[in-house]
Assembly symmetry: D4
Homo-oligomer: 253 residues x 8
């Protein structure tokens, strides 16, 4: 039942064409949640600057193409995660007018249509990663955060076994309003970073490692047990989720 239907019903009540009991009866049998104006209005405002997102993995090029075609019409920014160069080429072909605004990031497989570049974050988001193998996850976090209107400070290759590299970047870390830390293997970096800054830290375990890393499980457990109290955690390799949550935090005012 949309707003027009409700108005029409109420006008019939007012005009006497429908009596009160009948109106109650008709309201009763309708799926009430279609009334939900408040929610929609409320969310519409809140959702400014949130891109539409397609999880590309496991979707065929046809599927991605169809979904993106629908989204392009109603959203300024569209993000496709974990997709392939072929899909990127195809989307550029299908949306030739937007081609210059479509970026593809091969390390992470992220694709971004970035039209609305309004800065909505109140501060900088730092995206830190422990080793070069963690770069794809960090890239996914950065691409997401940028598409949601944030300035991102990327800090690479600072592992806990070389603590001086971390210390050299301390000021940059302390300048950030939210910090994302991506690390595989033992996943210790978020604890150390968390101890240096007062900002919220979002930890992303990566599947980097071998043997007893068990595809990121070691890093995940390490981060969940962090002795730094400002650390929260997302799924293994979930750069997107970290970038998304950090962006919501950074736009709080």
């Amino acid at each position: 039942m949309d707003q027009d239907q409700l108005r029409s019903l109420l006008e019939q009540v007012r005009g006497g064409a429908v009596d009160v009991d009948a109106a109650i009866g008709r309201l009763r049998h309708l799926p009430f949640e279609d009334l939900g104006f408040a929610k929609v209005d409320h969310h519409r405002a809140l959702r400014h600057g949130i891109p539409e997102v397609v999880f590309g993995k496991g979707k065929t090029p046809d599927q991605v193409s169809a979904i993106v075609a629908a989204l392009v019409a109603r959203a300024q920014n569209v993000l496709v995660t974990r997709t392939t160069p072929d899909v990127a080429d195809r989307l550029r072909g299908e949306h030739a007018a937007l081609s210059a605004q479509i970026e593809y990031f091969p390390a992470s497989g992220a694709l971004r249509l970035w039209r609305d570049r309004t800065l909505r974050g109140k501060g900088k988001i730092a995206v830190v990663c422990a080793g070069t193998s963690d770069l794809p996850v960090a890239e996914e976090a950065r691409v997401t955060a940028e598409a949601m209107g944030n300035e991102v400070e990327s800090i690479h290759d600072i592992g806990v076994a070389g603590i001086h590299r971390l210390m050299q970047n301390r000021e940059r870390l302390m300048d950030a309003r939210v910090v994302i830390v991506c690390a595989g293997m033992e996943g210790a970096l978020p604890s150390v970073v968390g101890g240096l800054v007062m900002a919220p830290v979002i930890a992303v375990p990566t599947s980097v490692g071998y043997g007893a890393s068990f595809h990121g499980l070691a890093a995940l457990l390490g981060m969940l047990n962090s002795c730094a109290s400002n650390v929260t955690v997302v799924n293994i390799d979930n750069g997107f989720g970290a970038g998304y949550a950090a962006s919501l935090i950074n736009r709080l005012s």
Copy 2:
């Protein structure tokens, strides 16, 4: 917003005291789900014969007492699972008039106020268990199914390593409309029973065992991998859940 409020609002619309836009506005800002008559009515009918249930574990006697006091007023049958003899004594004292109808089952810790004994099931529910150590879980399933209006056929102590005992009970198994099978250790019994009957089988892994049973994990995995296609599974030791789901199936008509 309850029905009275809605009626009042609609009458104001009808009488002109509230215009249509204002009415829409007021409807818009209300928690719409309070309108949900259909749902309540619909469920009220469906819920006939479903006892109110309290998960007793981890609740203090005071908490159980207070919750039961509230439930007794509005439900014919009340089930408290995993509670203690002390709580049973206390409840019998607090509800002296109902004392004769309050049963306590020490093996499983189930307590039942069973006033409405209408038979609602269309057939029998068989509750099978593999060994005597599985009896508490089977008891919880039986007590639940009975309180939900079912005739229960209990078949005890038929393990897969003594297949002749199982075969001797084949007719009783084949007479049941739904079969619940409780087994610990290797959890193989549901597969064998499932191959003998055409009824839906609900498997309950129990935590009976030691060592590599890992507190019921072995039985759980075994049941999930059952080669009998009519087997579905509930949580370890969840006799209540099995009794509940079996009762819903058995009342289908």
Copy 3:
């Protein structure tokens, strides 16, 4: 020992050609289970409308072809799960007369020879899935339930993070006699659906996800711990099992 042999023996007893002790002796040394008429008869009736099923994964095209050839002769409906387009083409060639009745479903790899389309279910089975990636599992459930004589209501793409989509489908869910819910990642949908309906809910965890989904383990554990009491669970990705068990429930009368 089949029925003819038994008759012959008994007639010899009657005629005096075999005395009682000798008859007992001969009965004693026979594999007694071959006597089992009751079982066969009993099952024959019950099994009406149950298709023959071949688990296609790990079988060569030759093996599937041989098994199907044998089954086609004695069963109206045959279901091959998790097979390939090549096998589908070959079977259509080998059973040219049935070719029009052989359907292949590429998403799930299910193949169906569906000759007996009698409706045996007493109500509708709803097959719900959380995301588009869960569609193959939902398809396997639907194809199975249909082949077993059920009307299936497919409800797609209603995740718990978009609760309004779920609410919009509430009526369709409440109309179903049995509900199958397929979900990966956190596997939360069966709990929410289970809270909305009074029907038995069969939950199918899917291997959709990454990282800490551990190939469906997260969803499986979630479903086993469901706070909705009407939920039972089958193996990860086991759409077939869910469709099968739901069909047995739905034909109860």
Copy 4:
């Protein structure tokens, strides 16, 4: 080396009592990190309103007493988590003048000396829990967030299997600037809440459950795989960590 020592050294350099090479030598052999003024100053400002925290579990009453005695002198607010009534009584005795300001929360075992009650949060923090058994964890989160200067909105007992209870609290949820969700068993609530609000959601898996909940593992995995992108996760039962991280987010301006 503190600031006075450094000043003294530099004055000796200026006065000629120490030459440059000797000064370099002395600087070289000192633990350089003691120079770290910037850090200390910077943190001193940031740390306003952050209580000193003692993890009480596994510490003897003597140990807790000694640590608290030291902290009381330098911090307005002190939080002791997971401690016992005995320790609370002892601390009240030892700090008689503060006794009225020492609160003990038996469900969670938290103890709070709360002297500085300045409101530092920019909005409300909602602390939601799924069942009554999750209350201790929610209490720890609330007590922490309050001690860090936040207004807390507690919303109890809204599970995913009773979605209408959740919907009735939607407005309260949408009013919060940060949402903490505590849930055991399948841990599905954060996903549903995350879909309803645009605020950051911190999910706390609880060890509530039995069998295949594996002491909170099922809830933890479910939350890590949440399909709601605004959800981050802390350790099982870590109400303190959730309250702490939420407080840091809520004070961002």
Copy 5:
């Protein structure tokens, strides 16, 4: 249907009181497995010297007492595993005439009524254990094997880190017809023993250890991956199962 019933039926057939079809009909509806003479006879012979066994853990003294009372009548030897001294005292009181033949073994909690001491094994069974903490499991194996008619050679405290102790016992090991090896921690001993002897080796992982032994899991996995091909494995701490299987092997002739 027992033999008398069958004889009676056949005599009625012979006498003409029951015709062949009726006889078939009556046979058809009987639980056929009750006919199973062959099995019973066959087993009776095979089972000579196999004690009746009661798994004592989780049974009340009343239950154990009742079960043993029934078994004493029909079996020469009775074994109760994992029971308590109280139960032992009670059983000695209840079976005063047998009191001298009831042995209780406190380390393992095994209780044995050992009347038939016929030696049935063809050779010796060696029961080896790695450390003193493994002694209870070794005792359970020995007590079982003795009660089943075997001469047992106990070899204690020969760990793989002291290979010379193992070598000193090499001749005793090589004299055994079957070898049982109990070991916790890394569970390496069966591999080393397996390489020294040509006899079948039954490995029993014990829950001895701490930390990453995970209650015997480390030893279990080690034994399953043994590089010695003559090693098979039973459940953690399952001394009884090892003694039982070894006894069956040792009585092969």
Copy 6:
């Protein structure tokens, strides 16, 4: 130090060329284990009929070829497990004179040079498997047992969900002196078979299954928790180990 060296030394002692202390000194510095005649002799007799075995997986064709070339000279029977058709062809080429005696088994990848076909087993070994997918593992067990001088009775495709098929094979099972049971999925078959026979049962979990079978873990745990006391277990898919251990048992006399 071989026997000749020892004799020479002792003769020098006898002849006075070496005095006692010098002899002790020379003996002391030699690797004593080379003295071990007893062991070698003892084993030589015991090892009659034990084939040399090469674990083919992960070895290059060159490596397998070289190892086999060395073994052919000193052993009548050689078994290569988990190898490829290419290797089989190459070995037939390299050992043209033996080509007719080299068998390759594609399902399991076993290759067998079988020259000494003496029957050494005292009875039959039954190799049972639950489903057609378990055939490769059963084949590896059979090929091994045959090469070690046993008559093997293969019983295929008798799952626990079709208990009548199992019962029909009861006599064949009861005739075996040792039984090997291969099963994947829930791994329940060994328990049922173990309950039917008095022979030792060696259970082989197979990796057949999907989802919560976790590559054979479910079957493995099930078998370790078997309620049949005559069941011991080997590693997942380890048909070779089962065949080997069964052969050692079957040659006991």
Copy 7:
């Protein structure tokens, strides 16, 4: 066969009382490993300063008393790990003359008879722990290392979330020849320490933590995946093993 027996045999050979063949025959049938002088001698020298060790957990006071009584006679230093104050009191009573040299450490439960206090280590061993809860494990490591002749530098309470505390102790860390690091929760400290020093680092995961620490598993996995290459790992809570291995390394010259 000890040296006397060998000498006697050789003298008989020399004297002609035993001929060479008989001597070979007698040597052949003896357990050759008893000859092993070299080993004993070699080890005797190496073992100087290695205490005798009793793993106290799971042993009764009687057992510990008997073992210690035997060891006191032949070893200067004796270490009993994980024992109780009662055992300590008893041992002091039983060895009154040594009472002053018997130390008991309540946090770890270690008991030490320390008579030979020769310093055998070539440098210092640093024993570092992350939090006060890790102190018992660190104490076990220290007590062990001291009893093996090492000077131990204890550095407490330096966690990775407070990196400045770690840096302040850098010089002490860099002075150590071997470093032991005990840490629970995320177990990150060994990586950070490993990056600061060039010495071998032995990491001891502790069971300190809760929830997803899984009794030390998180710390263990973290340490095994350390990005610092000089880190090796021992079992959870195995302070003794770390102290022992560190002592062997530190005595290398």
Copy 8:
């Protein structure tokens, strides 16, 4: 801030160009850790003979080429682990002058530029492996240890099931100053070796095995639970880490 900058600042203080407060201010705002002379100097000495190491897995040939080009300029020895023959060929082409000194080891994928062949180890490092499948891991350990200036004694193919092979190599094992033991499957070899030698033993679990080896987990757990106290453990397949840690130990003087 390097030493030159510091000197310049101090000279300005001495000369009066900068006053003390300003100097403190400038020192305060600098990243203090750049002062760290001691660390750099100290490490420079310690790091003599430590090769630069590149973890090759997951890096593109371009990336490896660029990193190696940078390292060649400043390090005598460079080690690239887990790389491919293509990368080896490319590096030889790019560094034609060094081509003769670049070695590639196909089994492990290690590549070594070995210019500084100074022997720095004080004794020999033994690298032992259990089976031929463990050779690649052993090779990685050996190549690392050699590049760090050690003489390596390789002992291959001595498994615990053939203890005589191990005993024959006892002297070689006892000659080593550090022992590395690589083993898959049950991972028992380090315990046996650890019992034979007094040297520190570094155990490397390998992923060799199948089924319940769980890709090296069984071996890892076995080694962590070793009953030999001189055993420490590194990650699964981490030959490099073992070689590195052993080299650090072996250079201790």
